[in-house]
């Protein structure tokens, strides 16, 4: 069977599975629609959370980014997993005890104010919508690459699929399809990694392979990689940080608290039966996430080494990397390179006209290295590889069979679709439950509310798809903003709502607005107002990264600090919350008396 047919078969079969599950798990009541009836066991809930959480960005781009960044890429690994410790201990059990469907509902009730819940809805919608646009773009890219259709057609197909199972299945349908999607995506990630780890180190477990010896030499894989990249003028793989130590510190913190504050992740903890289950469910989610996240650094380092070994034969033999015959001849480059050249994501140009491809860092600041490269007759780097193709091209680089490549295609799509569905759920609940039922039409019937939720979801799919078709020139920036908003607005508000009995509505609202505003201000200064090109105002804040060299992606942690500080300052000068709210906080802290989630206000 040829590659294209195999891919159609794998992707088609996986979609049939998801839609079948959605039909089987149709939601009847609002409780089933928003919280799966509060009946999902912790292990399964953990798996669904993992699929919800791991988006196209985790699946497709993360390993490629780490591959380029080296040690500094660890901030994604620690940041996107460490948040679950915060979530498990600081938020999940208490929100489950509170027993309502949504984050704005908690904030509205705890801070006895519709203003607070409206501000929370705004934060939630901004965070979720920006995040979902990236997912729809990812769906389009994955479809177009693997199914041979245009990116636009890819997005339409993706919209239709998400619509089918999110709208009809609700949270219950989404939860069970996400369990299936998790199985597909994790298999697609780990199987190629095992093959490659075996090839390079003889060790089948990638997590151990990364710390093993490089086959055919007496060096460890990482020492070998360090040596190769340093000899080619790049920064040392195991020590190069992301910007500065301070930036890496703040960036990691932002990702952690952003993770804990993302509404579609928090919402998952309303679907478990008890408070105790909410605690362990976060642990199970992290187990399933860590399966991919601990494999990613191995994929990253091995792909980097493989790539250098492909274009420079001296990597394997241990000879002089700069010897003329070490670099491969243009004509003898492998087929997978030719395939990816067509997508424009891999390019080469013979700058010095020697008929060979030299791949090195021509922007090195090391004068001795530059002199050596010049003496070897190298006239600039001749190969550029887009970081996003590392995971997708991985099985091809390692010359694995067609079914593995088809599996990776299905895995990438599963990752993007499951996250998009979870985000749509959070958006739909915020609009129908918190805005329409909570504020505009409190007397709406359960049926009417369900219908509003479905309409809200359909509209968001169309909006997200449209933005995915016409991305206003932002991809990485949007994800950063989603985390920044969640970290600087929602996380501090929920945390203070539980851990500070005396926090009042004035403090919480002022804190959320201050955190949100300062984060948006810093991000927009770099990336333009609402990411519209040309509206950035860097000179006003004194140039790029002017706040102690912190990049806009890393700014969420600062926003959160501002949120806490403003909230406590305002709280001090306004009157304390009413007696019954303080009693409510006491009740939320104690597991006894937890009941099924319901939507009643």
């Amino acid at each position: 069977m040829d590659l294209q047919t195999t891919i159609y078969l794998f992707v088609g079969a996986s979609f049939a599975l998801y839609i079948g599950i959605a039909i089987w798990a149709r939601a009847g009541s609002t409780s089933e629609f928003y919280a799966a009836g509060g009946s999902v066991p912790p292990v399964m809930n953990g798996m669904a959370t993992a699929a919800d959480w791991m988006s196209a960005a985790s699946f497709i781009s993360m390993a490629g980014l780490i591959s380029n960044m080296g040690y500094g890429g660890g901030l994604f690994l620690m940041g996107w997993t460490g948040g679950y410790v915060l979530l498990a201990m600081l938020l999940a059990p208490y929100l489950r005890k509170f027993g309502k469907f949504t984050v704005p509902q908690f904030i509205g009730d705890r801070f006895y104010s519709k203003t607070a819940s409206t501000v929370a809805v705004i934060c939630l919608l901004t965070a979720s919508l920006t995040y979902i646009i990236g997912q729809m773009t990812g769906v389009g890219v994955a479809f177009s690459r693997f199914l041979g259709v245009t990116s636009e057609t890819g997005i339409y197909v993706g919209m239709a699929i998400v619509f089918a199972y999110a709208v009809f299945g609700g949270m219950k349908g989404i939860t069970y399809t996400q369990v299936a999607q998790y199985c597909v995506l994790i298999a697609a990630y780990i199987i190629p990694a095992i093959f490659i780890s075996l090839q390079l180190t003889g060790m089948p477990i990638p997590q151990l392979g990364l710390g093993s010896g490089f086959t055919g030499s007496d060096m460890s894989l990482l020492a070998k990689l360090d040596q190769v990249v340093v000899d080619l003028g790049f920064g040392k793989y195991t020590t190069t940080t992301a910007g500065s130590t301070l930036n890496m510190f703040v960036y990691t913190m932002s990702l952690m608290i952003g993770t804990a504050g993302l509404p579609h992740v928090i919402m998952r903890f309303f679907t478990v039966p008890t408070v105790a289950a909410a605690r362990s469910s976060a642990g199970w989610a992290l187990v399933f996430i860590a399966l991919l996240y601990t494999t990613a650094p191995a994929v990253a380092a091995m792909a980097r080494l493989n790539l250098h070994a492909t274009v420079n034969t001296a990597v394997k033999t241990g000879g002089d990397l700069m010897a003329p015959e070490a670099s491969i001849l243009n004509e003898s480059r492998p087929d997978w390179m030719k395939r990816w050249e067509k997508t424009g994501l891999l390019k080469w140009a013979d700058k010095n006209g020697d008929g060979r491809i030299q791949y090195y860092n021509d922007k090195s600041k090391n004068d001795a290295f530059k002199a050596k490269a010049e003496a070897a007759g190298w006239k600039g780097n001749e190969l550029t590889v887009n970081a996003d193709i590392i995971v997708l091209a991985n099985p091809e680089i390692a010359l694995l069979p067609n079914w593995v490549i088809a599996l990776v295609a299905a895995g990438g799509l599963a990752a993007a679709l499951s996250t998009a569905a979870g985000l749509l759920m959070a958006i739909s609940a915020a609009i129908s439950h918190d805005l329409v039922k909570g504020i505009f039409a409190p007397n709406i019937s359960e049926k009417g509310e369900l219908m509003t939720g479905k309409i809200a979801m359909a509209v968001s799919i169309v909006v997200a798809g449209w933005l995915g078709l016409n991305p206003p020139g932002f991809a990485a920036g949007t994800v950063a903003l989603a985390f920044g908003i969640a970290a600087s607005s929602l996380f501090p508000a929920i945390m203070m709502g539980i851990f500070s009995k005396k926090m009042n509505k004035e403090g919480a609202v002022a804190g959320m607005l201050a955190g949100l505003f300062i984060t948006l201000f810093y991000v927009f200064a770099h990336k333009g107002i609402f990411f519209i090109k040309g509206t950035d105002f860097l000179p006003m804040i004194g140039g790029a990264n002017s706040f102690f060299g912190i990049t806009p992606e890393a700014f969420g942690a600062i926003g959160a600090l501002v949120n806490f500080a403003v909230a406590f300052a305002v709280d001090k000068v306004t009157k304390e919350p009413p007696e019954h709210i303080q009693h409510m906080v006491e009740a939320v802290r104690i597991p006894r008396g937890s009941k099924m989630v319901d939507g009643a206000h």
Binding site: I66, Y71, G73, G74, L75, L77, M78, T81, G82, Y84, V85, A88, M89, L90, P93, Q207, L208, L210, G211, S212, G213, S220, L221, L222, A223, T238, T239, T245, M248, F249, T252, M253, T274, V275, A276, R279, S280, A282, G283, L286, V287, A290, Y293, T294, P297, E586, R589, I590, P591, R592, G593, S594
Partner: protein, 84 residues
């Protein structure tokens, strides 16, 4: 607030503080601030600081959550506030 819930809450906060200290030490401590120093030690083929940033902190995070869930169960029962 009655004595039981006061004592319960301070037991919970005590546990959280302990766990957060470990959480901070493995990721921000060993993985970032002291990574260079730890890199002089080798764990198999891994420099230790690099291992904490790319592998170790994630394993410890998982252990922390399950430890937390277990300890909280014990605290709940000790103060008789567990679910039925």
């Amino acid at each position: 607030m009655d004595d039981v819930s006061k004592n319960y809450w301070s037991a919970v906060l005590g546990l959280l503080t302990k766990i957060l200290i470990v959480w901070f030490l493995v990721s921000f401590g060993a993985g970032i601030l002291f990574a260079d120093m730890l890199n002089t030690i080798k764990l198999g083929g891994y420099p230790l600081g690099f291992w904490f940033a790319h592998q170790g902190s994630m394993y410890i995070f998982i252990a922390l959550i399950f430890y937390y869930a277990k300890k909280m169960g014990e605290i709940d029962r000790k103060f008789d506030v567990h679910e039925d």
